[in-house]
Amino acid sequence: MVGTPVLFIVIPLLAAFIIPLTGMVWKNSVRIIPGLVLSYMLALSVSLMWHITETGTVVEVIAGWKPPIGINLVFSPFSGFLATLMIFLGLLVWAYSYKFKRNVDSEPALKYFILLMLLVTGSVGIVLTGDIFNMFVFIEIVGISGYGLTSFYTRRDSAEAAFKYLFMGSIASTFLLLAIMIIYSQLGTLNIAEIADKMPMMSNKLKVISLIFFILAIGIEAEIFPLNGWAPDVYTQAPGPIGAAFAGIVVKSAIYASVRLVYTMFDLSGALDLFIVIGLITFIVAETTALRQERLKRMLAYSSIGQMGLVMVAFGIGTKEGIFAALFLIFNHAIIKSLLFFSGSYLVYNKKNKFIKHVNGMGKYLPITSILFTIGAFAIIGLPPFAGFWSKLAILTAAADSKMLMLIAIILTVSILEAVYYLRVINRIYFFPKKKSTEAKKPTLNALIVMISLGIIIMVIGFYPDLITGIIDRAATDLMDKTGYIKDILTINN
């Protein structure tokens, strides 16, 4: 074991405070140190994942106060799986944007990389923490780094998109605080495990209202319909790799938060049906809107929102198969959507409006990027033998096991829409003539390596899904085991 969960938060923060100093002496350190930190975090999380298969969940207390007095961090198979996934994606985003703004001042680069590193750290913090107020603090860390990254380019309408995001984020944090205070006033604690333990003491009315406030607040971050108005603009205006970071990291942590609340904290029976309903609405609305988009990144953004809706539906099924499908979908979506954002940014590189028509004929000029984009598109539609096929199969079987035939019908119908708009883009890439005025921009080496490795992962998971299903299966079992979670935390003795 190389360390304990607290280092996931502390080491990046320490690095963030040190980088401005080293940047004055050695310009390149502002790019290199975040990468080293993220690699360390990846090594730490992988070794902890090995460790917990033998010893079970790792619970760490801070300042030596046992829960519920102190704040605690929980590295369980479920949170560990998500944390590892996020850190891995963060590392890829870092590698992809390593050459970013190389020729400009080191000062924007300093800000970009610190904000990126803390975005990942905040998301990992949301996933690991065992305290709702601490979760609020991490949500705000993610939020502020998100605003900074969105408005990073001074051209374009990025400030407007960031303002929109900030507006929604502020309202979200208000409702989050209200919900936290309602719970605190009734139970006198902020620890998730103890809240879950004492939850029966709360009156039903307060339970419902605080759950609504929570869902309202976290739904804004998780891009649930109709609270997702900010998302498409942010994805379009933010620098290319940041779109991947939002889709792969931020949204995942918000989904984690809502799932943790509904599965562990609240004992309301109707909440899961609510998940299915809002998930389905989000899925249908987002996919039909994606069909009408003319800009590539907006299309990808709506597709991402739709996939998150599907994840919510899968969580809402509530059986172990459903959770398994949801986690598998989260994993696949994270790698596939990142690949789509990465390769898509190069297909429409440096075009002002990034219309879909700009990809015309790129198949000839950017062969590798186009093939990678195609792999990603096929995978997200769910064609075999790519990774996406298995997760879609898993969700359909889970629905079938729970006798939800309508659900299967809806998912399949909407998937056809999804196929239509992705195939439309691919058709343009390969079978349309290229306009003279559009220039193709060759990807840099580091970007190419990142994209190819993502493509390889998608193919490998497609052929050997067993590589990942074991881990996901353990994570799903862990999430279902509410009493185990409470016991792990409240009876800790170290």
């Binding site: 607290v6 938060i9 502390v10 923060l13 320490l14 963030a16 405070f17 040190i18 401005p20 100093l21 004055m24 760490e60 207390v61 801070i62 300042a63 030596g64 106060w65 519920p68 007095i69 102190g70 704040i71 001042d105 000062e107 924007p108 800000k111 970009y112 610190i114 904000l115 803390l118 913090g125 107020f133 601490n134 603090v137 991490f138 705000e140 860390i141 502020i144 780094s145 605003y147 900074g148 408005s151 990073f152 001074t154 400030a159 960031a162 209200l178 309602i182 605190y184 006033s185 009734q186 139970l187 006198g188 604690t189 902020l190 620890n191 009315k205 307060l206 209202i209 170290n494």
Partner: protein
């Protein structure tokens, strides 16, 4: 029309909220046993810190404070990124009208005492109301006063970032010292001392001083960046 809809939905929200909070009750004990008793007793017996809020902020829930400090750091980072300009493009400070002699000498007179008050507030954060955030803010107001009074008063950006970084490193360093010595991040590594003594509470006072410096440097940096925006 839009306004009417918003007004109606806000009224509903308001009635709901009032209903909930009157149900919760005001000025009474809401719950049978909460963490608050553990905090009150722990602060008095174990940490020997007389201001319980300080012991919660810095020790029991010190992780929140670390996040909070990070939020401020991020805000100044993001602000710098949003208003980024190349060095030579940095404009003059926008001044509406020059300050009179009275304001100038008054500011000069007040500045040291403001800084002193701020320092007092964060040094005594564990004994009396106040602490790092409050003290840091007071110091930053001193700098704000100087910046708006004197047209050519300037603060070195590099020096601010030294203070900021070192204070942050001190905070995390003390936390890590607890991690390596007592096996838990932010654990107390110094003797706790006596209740109501200036040197009580072990690391708590030192961490609050670090927070004070950091907040002062960050707020001054934010003020400075925004003041140098030309329409």
């Amino acid at each position: 029309m839009k306004k009417a809809i918003i007004l109606i939905s806000l009224t509903i929200l308001g009635v709901y909220l009032i209903d909930i909070f009157t149900g919760i009750g005001f000025g009474t004990q809401h719950f049978a046993s909460g963490v608050k008793d553990a905090y009150l007793i722990g602060s008095k017996e174990t940490l020997k810190v007389s201001n319980v809020v300080t012991s919660i902020v810095v020790n029991f829930r010190g992780f929140d404070t670390l996040g909070e400090v990070t939020v401020l750091f991020l805000a100044s980072m993001a602000l710098g990124g949003i208003l980024y300009k190349k060095r030579h493009d940095v404009g003059e400070r926008s001044v509406l009208f020059p300050s009179t002699r009275i304001v100038m000498s008054g500011a000069k007179l007040l500045f040291p005492s403001i800084v002193l008050l701020g320092a007092y507030v964060f040094i005594h954060g564990h004994l009396s109301p106040g602490g790092g955030f409050q003290g840091g803010t007071i110091i930053a107001t001193g700098f704000l006063l100087m910046l708006i009074t004197y047209r050519n008063y300037s603060v070195s950006h590099n020096r601010l970032s030294y203070v900021e970084s070192f204070a942050g490193i001190l905070f995390i360093g003390l936390g890590l010292a607890g991690y390596f010595i007592n096996n838990s991040f932010l654990a107390n590594i110094f003797p706790a001392g006596k209740l109501n003594d200036l040197f009580s509470g072990g690391v708590i006072g030192i961490i609050y001083v670090a927070v004070g410096f950091k907040v002062a440097a960050e707020l001054t940096g934010i003020i400075y960046t925004v003041l140098h925006e030309k329409d």
